[in-house]
């Protein structure tokens, strides 16, 4: 019940394309869903987050779509750039303790 399932494991996108990463959860008590970006040798950096009272949140090129009934949420990266190449983690919590997805390694080709 505490799991967060993330897909795909890896993703290759052409520059300018849209990157989409999906996550699904089971615990309906979760009420905060952040996405983190991690570059090699660095700690995860908070990218964007959403709460279940909204279905979508956009910040620049990054958008979270949230489907409460399906218990799914996704990250969309518009106009993907080579600098977006990193590992992305979704997470969920209702206690402050983050439960992370398995991670998606994104490669954006120039």
């Amino acid at each position: 019940q505490q799991q967060v399932k993330q897909s795909p494991q890896s993703l290759i996108v052409q520059k300018g394309g849209i990157s989409i990463i999906n996550c699904a959860y089971e615990n309906t008590a979760f009420d905060y869903f952040p996405w983190y970006q991690q570059f090699p040798g660095k700690g995860p950096a908070l990218l964007i987050a959403i709460r279940p009272d909204v279905s979508e949140k956009k910040e620049g090129r990054f958008t979270i779509s949230f489907n409460k009934s399906a218990k799914q949420f996704s990250l969309h990266i518009m106009d993907s750039q080579p600098g977006d190449s990193a590992t992305y983690f979704c997470a969920a919590t209702h206690t402050g303790k983050l439960i992370f997805g398995q991670g998606t390694t994104l490669q954006v080709k120039p």
């Binding site: 952040p34 660095k42 700690g43 995860p44 983690f89 919590t93 402050g96 303790k97 983050l98 992370f100």
Partner: protein
């Protein structure tokens, strides 16, 4: 955001020894956590560092192996005890400044290699 200083940034240790990792935050925070990230894997919560009291450990992690201290609202340490090669991981400190479901920030991590 929060400025988190984690030391050391990396270390290579002999099996059977212990390493203490420090996490210093630039201002008071509500919650502090320690996570482990095994090579090529996701992050797993080790424990919640409680100020002035014993840490709260997640399933699979015990105090004897990972003793944690948090003497005040801006500082915590994690010790990896009696290390084996299986302990080779990145250990990350995380803090929450506001309520429990607000932004969590991470330090740069400590990359530990046990030989």
């Amino acid at each position: 955001s929060a400025v988190i200083s984690q030391k050391p940034s990396r270390d290579i240790c002999q099996r059977g020894t212990s390493l203490t990792i420090q996490c210093q935050v630039d201002s008071q925070v509500t919650m502090m956590f320690w996570y482990r990230q095994q090579p090529g894997q996701s992050l797993t919560l080790i424990a919640t560092a409680n100020q002035g009291s014993e840490a709260t450990y997640e399933s699979g992690f015990v105090i004897d192996k990972f003793p944690i201290s948090r003497p005040n609202l801006t500082f915590s340490t994690l010790t990896v005890s009696n290390m084996s090669p299986e302990d080779s991981s990145i250990y990350l400190c995380s803090v929450v400044r506001g309520g429990m479901n607000t932004e969590a920030f991470f330090g740069q991590g400590t990359r530990l290699t046990v030989v």
